[in-house]
């Protein structure tokens, strides 16, 4: 069954098209990744799914029901973890979760049980009486998640839940996503961190300029780019590097430089490794290491858009 189905969805802000005739489907039990750089239209799409923004065309179905005519059903079955924290700073962690869970009609003993369950899940039960203003960024993010899951939604949508937090909280959150999924939740996970999406998502849609430009499992996406390969050359210094000349070498598609590592994307069928090595030697640039990278989503994105994810 499709938990979420989007058809020809469009959103305009004035003349600007933020979401452009987008279609996709998320099946029950998936961890579905939304990968795209900032401004790709991920949050806008989520806000329309959550019923916060009017659409300018197209339709959205949750559990096979159109959200325009079944908004209550849709809202009851969705748990949103917004990109911007939505918690009350003057209410304790417990009160925050309790408040949001209560909006979904939970009361009494059941409410109490679900609130505690959610706090245990995000590892904040021992902090339940503390105010979020004393929390670290990671703890706030976790509380934000607890507020979205206490009513046990079928579909949990997380919008960049790991932005700006410490690695430990980040791992905690990624583990939680998997656990939620094992418990039967369908999860839509939005990020511009390729590693995260690659790590936990069973299927991924790559978004750019309001469009889904590729969709599939990791393997399917990587298969798109078997015709290119990545060669990383670590050098002592990049001062004398003439990028343009490097690009001239036959078969080289694109180059990016990160500190002392030159990342070269090149066509697979052209054997140009000799030329590349020759390029560095002739310019007296000392090569420290040289390796060929297995394709990853970053390269997929780069190939599809000509840009880095984080640009």
């Amino acid at each position: 069954m499709n938990v979420l189905e989007i058809k020809n969805l469009t959103k305009k802000f004035g003349d600007f098209i933020a979401v452009d005739n987008m279609s996709l489907a998320v099946q029950e039990g998936e961890i579905f990744g939304f990968l795209g750089s900032n401004g790709a239209g991920k949050s806008t799409t989520i806000n329309m799914i959550a019923g916060l923004l009017q659409t300018n065309g197209g339709e959205i179905k949750i559990l096979d029901k159109n959200i325009a005519s079944h908004s209550k059903l849709a809202k009851m079955n969705i748990g949103i973890v917004p990109q911007d924290l939505a918690i009350y700073e003057d209410m304790t962690a417990y009160e925050n979760v309790r408040f949001f869970a209560g909006l979904y009609g939970l009361r009494g003993a059941e409410l109490k049980e679900r609130v505690e369950e959610a706090l245990v899940f995000v590892g904040l039960l021992d902090k339940q009486k503390s105010l979020p203003k004393d929390f670290s960024g990671g703890m706030k993010r976790r509380l934000n998640i607890a507020c979205a899951i206490a009513h046990r939604p079928k579909l949990i949508i997380m919008d960049e839940p790991t932005v700006g937090i410490d690695p430990q909280s980040r791992n905690y959150i990624l583990t939680s996503v998997r656990k939620l999924n094992e418990m039967g939740c369908t999860v839509i996970y939005t990020s511009h961190y390729m590693e995260e999406v690659e790590e936990i998502c069973s299927r991924i849609a790559i978004m750019d300029h309001g469009k889904v430009i590729a969709e599939g499992t990791k393997e399917q996406l990587k298969a798109i780019i078997t015709d290119t390969r990545d060669i990383w050359v670590e050098v002592k210094n990049t001062e004398n590097l003439e990028e343009a000349a490097l690009k001239e070498i036959k078969g080289v598609n694109s180059i990016s430089i990160e500190e002392n590592v030159i990342k070269i994307n090149s066509q697979s069928e052209v054997n140009n490794l000799n030329h590349i090595i020759q390029f560095f030697i002739s310019r007296l640039i000392e090569i420290r290491s040289l390796q060929e990278q297995a394709p990853n989503l970053e390269t997929v994105f780069l190939t599809l858009t000509g840009r880095n994810l984080r640009d």
Binding site: L52, L53, Q54, K75, A86, Y104, C147
Partner: protein
Amino acid sequence: MKEVLWLVANSLRSIFTNKRRIFSYVLVPLLGIFIAFMAYGDTGPAKLHAGIVDLDKSTLSKNTTSFIAGLDNIKVSNVSQTTVKNKISSGTLDCAIILEPGFSKAIMNGEKPEIEIVSIKGAQVTAFIKAYLNNYIGNLHSLSTAANGDTAVFNTLYQNYKNAEFKVSAHSLKDTSKNNDMTIQTIGFLLMIMLNSAGGLSELILKEKENRTYFRLMSAPIDGKKYVLSNIIVNMVIMTIQVVVTLTAMTQVFGISAGIPFWEMTGVMMFFALVSVGLSLVITAFATSSTSASALQNLIMTPTCLLAGCFWPVEIMPKTAQKIADFLPQRWLLDTLTELQKGHTLGSLSLNLATLFAFALVFFMIAIYKFGRNNNVRSFI
């Protein structure tokens, strides 16, 4: 409705578990009473200045004079018959008590003595003195009946009566005119507090938008209408508490009698509560941020309160200012209360109430219209 009640209960809980909020929503309104006291000088009930014209010049008439002087809250001076009228009309005296010749004799004979009480302040002032005098003279009559016309016996009885631990029960004097003014003053301040707290509570809508919780709420089974309704309910609850607490403290703790039955006054204030919510929703609907809403509130509320005579009698302002005040809901509210104090019934003031209601209605309609056009969720990035 279940969701609305949940929102209401939650807001009220967060208000009443926060000392600072209790202070600003419940205790600050009481400040108005202190301000009223300050404005009217002495904190105790007013002293009444009575002049006594003793034309009988007997022991009994002198005793009567000292009886009156012994009453709480009354200052007595002997004045001559010729000056008394002047002193009353100039306001040096609040009233004059004239003991006609034959006062003593009439009492001894068990007859009603001639006492004239003159005042331009009306029955509110004289009724109190009359009541005490009647009581006093009644006692003297009992003595004279017991003495059966025997002057010596009467004098002995009278001495005993005087020496008995006789204490006039200390009913404080209610000079209603001053009390009425203090009531209006207190309520004037209360009006401003109500406007401000309604403004503050509606501003929470903008604050919630700014800190994003609003959008989180909207992704739950809550919509904008339910949310605003819950805000209105919280607002009305808070203002009801403010009104009841302030009026109770004013009448019960501070002993300012309003001259209007408590529930009538509360009821009229509820009309103004609606006006306050309506106005603050209009401001919220037009403001682009909570800061600009605050600024707009200050720009609108304080000056209109000043103009409408919330802090001083409207009569002392220039005629043009008074004309402008006629277009302000605060003026209509204060006017309604003043009329009630003068003894008009609520029924006869239905025009005033209808006007207040119309203010509220117009504000609500503007707010609803503007909210309806605001549906474009702002900056969602």
